[in-house]
């Protein structure tokens, strides 16, 4: 439930939304909760089907998109772009990167400290606010 939250304290989706100034409606809580407990970087469609089949609250497509955009603007989730034509969502809002397994399509998080200092490699004609590394390859499953 709090897999992607940086603090050790257990924080419910509801508490998280409240702390970011987002009113915790049932739909929003259920979407945020789903994103917090998965590490699969789902698309909007995947959120919609997962949430609407598993959970008791009614949910429309428009609300999924509204909620994802609201949560993104509130800093509760981030967008991840790995392929053309679809946006993925990530409740891990810490600065981190992604590894795409080209065989399975699985997308896993890479902590920022693994690729530290990239931001300082460019010369002074670039003022780097942030960066995003997308790795492609194969995950060894030993």
């Amino acid at each position: 439930m709090t897999a992607h939250n940086t603090s050790d304290k257990i924080v419910t989706a509801e508490q998280l939304l409240l702390s970011r100034g987002v009113k915790p409606t049932p739909q929003r809580v259920v979407i945020a909760d789903y994103l917090l407990q998965t590490d699969s970087h789902p698309t909007a469609d995947e959120v919609l089907s997962a949430v609407s089949e598993a959970l008791p609250v009614a949910l429309s497509r428009a609300t999924v998109y509204n909620t994802l955009n609201t949560l993104k603007e509130a800093g509760v989730i981030k967008e991840v772009l790995t392929e053309p034509g679809r946006v993925r969502y990530d409740a891990n809002v810490s600065h981190h990167h992604h590894f795409v397994d080209v065989k399975t399509g699985k997308i896993v998080d890479i902590p920022a400290d693994k690729v530290e200092a990239i931001g300082e490699l460019l010369g002074d004609q670039y003022k780097v606010h942030g960066f995003q590394v997308l790795f492609y390859g194969e995950l060894e499953q030993h």
Copy 2:
């Protein structure tokens, strides 16, 4: 015309297509030529308007998409993903990265050697085939 070609020799779009096994039809030559002489990372729509207003050959939307996909599969151009919902195209097919100026939207190339060795930073549970770094920030204009 050859701004993004790695060799010093002047190579026309037509010669480049021939060398990659793509039949150089007038539409394909004109699209490849446009991509080779710009560094603006245009979208398909931008290619279509630039080429159809400036150049003498008739050009349909379907042909622009067909050609971009053909050129991509032939290794003449690459896709660049910087924002949701639109694919950009790049005739610089060398391994390189991108810097997005968040003020202007300008996208500039960052040579691979600026961020060398990122591929070796991950542990041995990852077999890295490649990676792509996307920087966000501001370009200093002096």
